[in-house]
């Protein structure tokens, strides 16, 4: 049984059809990439899976639960973590505090406990700090814990977004263009982190334009074009798929 099933999903914004009848599955332990030209509907699909928006038609089932109709914070709590194409880090907060927000749903000290710094609250704060540092360590940026998030170079910003999502203990992690703007060295470091995350048992779905990165890291690739799925399969197959080449990749990949 797949951990995530996207079933006949369509999304219309007024007269614009962003997604049409898209179906695919994500299996536990996979790294799956979603590719396609700009405007193919990749980010829209991400927003549907993370319940930021609801599909016009179709259903999205995660670990036996219907995502459609959930709020996005609820989707996070059932196990879907995500990063954003345009970084949504809390720039003027510290790197560590960014990750700590990711522990929100895994802790429960309320307003009154915070007001009066109860001993239980202090213990929980300690646990939040430890878990957050572990999340930073998983992507290898723990030495920047005290820095302001806004001061990090781009590569580390992307890793911080990932660490923050990891802190929520997701079962599926959605990465929206994690390699965008990174140099080769940073991209390699990112690929290592993503593989390690997968090896730790987290299923990864990513949107990416960097074809070298996608083909190198993915177990399977889904290709979208004008909101339709035009191909799905292992990277080698996708690279030789005529429709994909015609629609998107160009003649010489």
């Amino acid at each position: 049984m797949p951990i995530l099933r996207v079933e006949s999903v369509s999304k219309r914004f007024g007269g614009l059809e962003a997604l049409r009848d898209v179906t695919f599955s994500l299996y536990e332990g996979q790294i799956k990439a979603l590719i396609g030209p700009n405007g193919a509907g990749k980010t829209t699909l991400f927003n549907l899976v993370s319940a930021i928006e609801a599909p016009t038609e179709g259903s999205i089932v995660f670990a036996g639960k219907e995502i459609t109709g959930m709020t996005s914070d609820r989707a996070c709590r059932v196990g879907i973590g995500r990063t954003f194409q345009h970084s949504k880090l809390f720039d003027d907060m510290s790197v560590l505090d960014n990750v700590k927000v990711g522990r929100h749903a895994k802790s429960n000290a309320g307003l009154l406990a915070a007001f009066f710094t109860t001993p239980r609250h202090r213990r929980e704060e300690q646990a939040i700090t430890e878990a957050s540092i572990r999340a930073l360590r998983r992507v290898g940026i723990e030495e920047h814990a005290a820095a302001q998030a806004g001061s990090l170079p781009l590569g580390e910003r992307h890793l911080l977004e990932i660490a923050r999502a990891l802190a929520t203990e997701p079962r599926v992690l959605l990465l929206d263009e994690p390699a965008a703007g990174l140099n080769n060295e940073e991209t390699d470091r990112l690929a290592d982190s993503v593989r390690r995350i997968r090896d730790e048992g987290i299923t990864v779905l990513l949107v990416e334009h960097d074809m070298g990165f996608v083909m190198n890291i993915s177990d399977e690739v889904v290709v979208l074009d004008y909101g339709r799925k035009i191909a799905e399969g292992p990277p080698l197959m996708i690279q030789n798929d005529e429709e994909v080449i015609r629609a998107y990749l160009g003649a010489d990949l």
Binding site: D73, C76, G81, F90, M93, H104, G110, L111, A114
Partner: protein, 346 residues
Amino acid sequence: MNGGRLLTFARRHSAFAMFAVVALGAPIFLNNAYYLSVLAFTATRLMISLGLNLLMGQAGQISLGHAAFVGIGAYGSAIMTTRWHMDPWLAMALAACIAAFAAVIIGIPTLKLKGHYLALATLGVGEIVFILLVQTKSLTNGTDGLTGIPALAVGGLRFTQYNPRAFHLLVWGVALVMLLISLNLSDSRVGRSLKGLHRSEVAARSLGVDTAFHKVQIFVVSAVFASIAGSFYAYYVQYISPDSFTLTFSVLLVTGVVIGGLGSVWGAVWGTLLVALLPEYLRQYDDYTNLVFGILVIVIMIFLPTGMIGVPALLGKWRRGISGGGRPSSGAAMTEGTGTADGGTV
């Protein structure tokens, strides 16, 4: 053991401890009853500002109708004590519950709005409450106001205008507790999540923060702070009328919080002290009081866009400018030295 804990507390909250000593000790050096009453009002204003600072500074939501909650506290206490002869303390607690309930009812629909729309919606709420205070004459006595409100008392100790030192300790004690718990909040799970949703609601939600709930929750806190302040006000002056809870008052409250600075809880303190005490000082200019005050507010906002909590950073910049070097010594480190920074700027 106990001394050790006290020491840890003093170290963590050194700025708070100093401020508390000054605030509570002020009556020792002040004999003038008028000054003492100004300080008492300042304490009630600080309570309101702290709630607004949490709402606006931490959570990034605005309320242009906070006079409504002050009014609920004041009128709630006045009506329950004068008409129903309830105990003043109990009336204060019940009024705070009413304010909290009202905040839930108002907050659920309005906090879905953003920016200007939220400002307008809360402004509307403020006006509605004002109209209710004027029109429900059977309860509020309309524009004539309510008189004969009893004073707060514990045993034989009555907290009235004629016992200004006792009242001073009471209101400043409560205001200081509110300050301390506000400071505590900013470094906690809920506080961080509020800061996060302020910066990006979409991101905060994707991290599992129930932003709708937390926005309403902090709105309720700010309403309760305002209501308690309103009750103290009513018990102190023992006469209230709707004039004290106008839109102008709501705007003045927001002004104080913004002038002080939204980036830190301490902004509420400095802003309140300025907005509450400066007009007293400016009284010597008679008719020009408001003009001078307005100009000062504009000047402060031009030179200190982050509010008065930005003063240390500004001084640091000037000092670097004078010494001629572009030393990268950070304003943040200097702000920390004065204990005014507990978070970033907005």
